[in-house]
């Protein structure tokens, strides 16, 4: 009988645990409307996006407007574009805001996404240490030339290395230059834009960044823009609602509302105004096709 008694103890504890979790879940539900357990009445969607949209503060500035208009909470998960697309493929996210156009189009073609729309763009810049005039003058607007110079002189370069949109862009430029970057001078960080900029700052290295994240952190960095406004440095962001055909769990209706909202004239105007006050220039240029 001893054993039975002991079992009793454990099962009592288990029962308490289950009870507790249930209470907790309901408690949390009242506490924040963001937790839902049923599929048909979603009050929250997961937005998988890039580190740049979050770290610049853009989403913090515009998403509350969406929530107050629709009552839909948006859970922003900031990862690289590559991981965001993967989250769309596995149905972990309901809507994506990313910047890797060819991968995005592939994503829609494979049936993971409903449709891809242009939302906004900014541009990529090559940043490097302030105090060292390492790059020759003729590279100022020639990103391919600049990377060639960096490789030839084995100047430390930090790559995002996280399959993000910025990383994909960087790889495509190396490809254009006909270089397989490798060696001690080429550091693959596997981190978000903010961390990589800091790393470049610490190591006095060069890195490719989107302009927005760089501007939002410029004050805490000893870096300056080395190459900008080259023709192949455009950075286009797209929005895609995840297709429920592949993942029945995703909330298409709410995701579609988000897509429509971010493409609407009002929101586009908000995007275009973001950053003007703080940085003296907009961080993103809205370009949704009305």
């Amino acid at each position: 009988m001893k054993i039975f008694k002991e079992r009793n103890n454990v099962s009592m504890a288990l029962l308490l645990l289950i009870l507790g979790f249930t209470l907790l879940t309901t408690g949390c539900k009242q506490q924040q409307a963001s937790d839902q357990t049923t599929q048909d009445e979603a009050s929250a969607i997961v937005l998988a996006t890039t580190t740049s949209t979050e770290q610049t503060g853009l989403l913090d500035a515009i998403i509350p407007v969406f929530t107050s208009e629709t009552g839909i909470e948006v859970k922003v998960v900031a990862v690289g574009s590559g991981q965001a697309l993967t989250m769309g493929e596995t149905g972990e996210a309901d809507v994506l805001l990313v910047h890797a156009k060819s991968s995005e189009e592939e994503f829609v073609e494979k049936g993971f996404g409903i449709e891809r729309y242009d939302v906004m763009y900014n541009d990529f810049i090559l940043v490097g240490p302030k105090d060292e005039e390492a790059l020759p003058e003729e590279c100022k607007a020639d990103i391919v030339g600049a990377l060639k110079y960096i490789q030839e002189n084995k100047i430390t370069f930090i790559s995002r290395g996280d399959d993000s949109g910025t990383h994909k862009k960087e790889l495509s430029i190396w490809k254009t230059a006909g270089i397989e970057p490798s060696g001690d001078w080429y550091i693959s960080a596997g981190k978000g834009m903010g961390e990589v900029l800091q790393m470049a700052d610490e190591k006095k290295a060069y890195t490719l960044s989107d302009r927005g994240t760089f501007l939002s952190m410029e004050d805490s960095l000893e870096l300056s823009i080395a190459v900008e406004k080259a023709s192949d440095l455009l950075n286009q962001y797209g929005v895609i609602a995840v297709n429920p055909e592949k993942n029945p769990n995703v909330h298409l209706e709410e995701a579609q509302k988000f897509v429509d909202w971010i493409l609407s004239e009002k929101t586009q105007k908000l995007i275009g105004e973001f950053g003007v006050e703080k940085y003296g220039q907009a961080l993103f240029v809205p370009n949704a096709k009305a």
């Binding site: 645990l17 913090d60 922003v76 972990e92 805490s220 993942n247 769990n249």
Partner: protein, 233 residues
């Protein structure tokens, strides 16, 4: 050097201005880690005590298993929880990934072996005496367990405090299962990591001061319990 001093200055301004976002994050941290620890205690305390005092085959082996599990890398626990809770996973339909509950589950699993292990150890060392005493006084099993908990109450407190300290200072698992979502799953540790990566040093320093204070308090209590093991009633 200037930015560090500035960081501290601004940090104190932030701390005493009662920034609502920071306060919410601190409360959420305490709530998530506290809940995870309480549930782990509900299971771990009786489990550790029962198995500590019982003689059963493979007891030594069980001990090694629990002690090994105490060193389970938090980030791996986070990964496992994330896999199970993701929409594609076995518990996908509850949509728990990126919620505070997911963080509680991860922390619960993280600290359960810690609580169980500490109590298993102390019950193994002292349990037998207590039980014999209980037996002489004519206590049944449940009363004996009560007596044991009462006698080992400082060990229980030590285990729970240690667990809570581990839970609240953990960053890898909560980042994976919670996702550091503003206003929903952003806790102290992920807040510090994020602000540091954004170059907002004063905010990360401010939060680090809070976390450090909490951790040191807990560690101080744990140390005190560990050192002053006289059973005060």
């Amino acid at each position: 050097m200037g930015y560090i001093i500035n960081g501290f200055k601004e940090a104190f301004v932030l701390l005493f201005s009662g920034d609502t976002e920071m306060i919410r994050i601190i409360l959420l941290s305490l709530f998530v880690s506290g809940t995870g620890t309480i549930f782990a205690a509900i299971i771990g305390v009786p489990l550790g005590l029962c198995l500590g005092i019982k003689r059963f085959p493979l007891k030594r082996f069980f001990g090694s298993v629990v002690y090994t599990a105490m060193g389970f890398p938090p980030v791996v626990i986070g990964l496992l929880v994330a896999i199970f809770l993701s929409r594609k996973g076995p518990f996908g339909r509850y949509e728990l990934l990126f919620t505070p509950q997911a963080m509680m589950i991860a922390q619960f699993l993280l600290v359960l072996p810690i609580i169980t292990g500490i109590l298993f150890g102390s019950a193994k060392d002292k349990g037998q005496q207590v039980l014999e005493l209980g037996h002489t006084l004519g206590a049944n099993r449940r009363e004996s367990l009560k007596l044991l908990i009462h006698e080992l109450n400082s060990s229980v407190l030590l285990a729970v405090m240690t667990a809570f300290g581990r839970a609240i200072s953990e960053v890898g698992a909560v980042m994976l299962v919670g996702g550091n979502i503003k206003g929903s799953t952003r806790v102290m540790t992920t807040f510090i990591a994020m602000n540091n990566s954004m170059g907002a040093y004063e905010r990360s320093i401010a939060m680090a001061i809070v976390l450090l204070t909490i951790s040191l308090l807990i560690n101080g209590i744990v140390h005190h319990l560990n050192g002053g093991r006289n059973y005060v009633d």
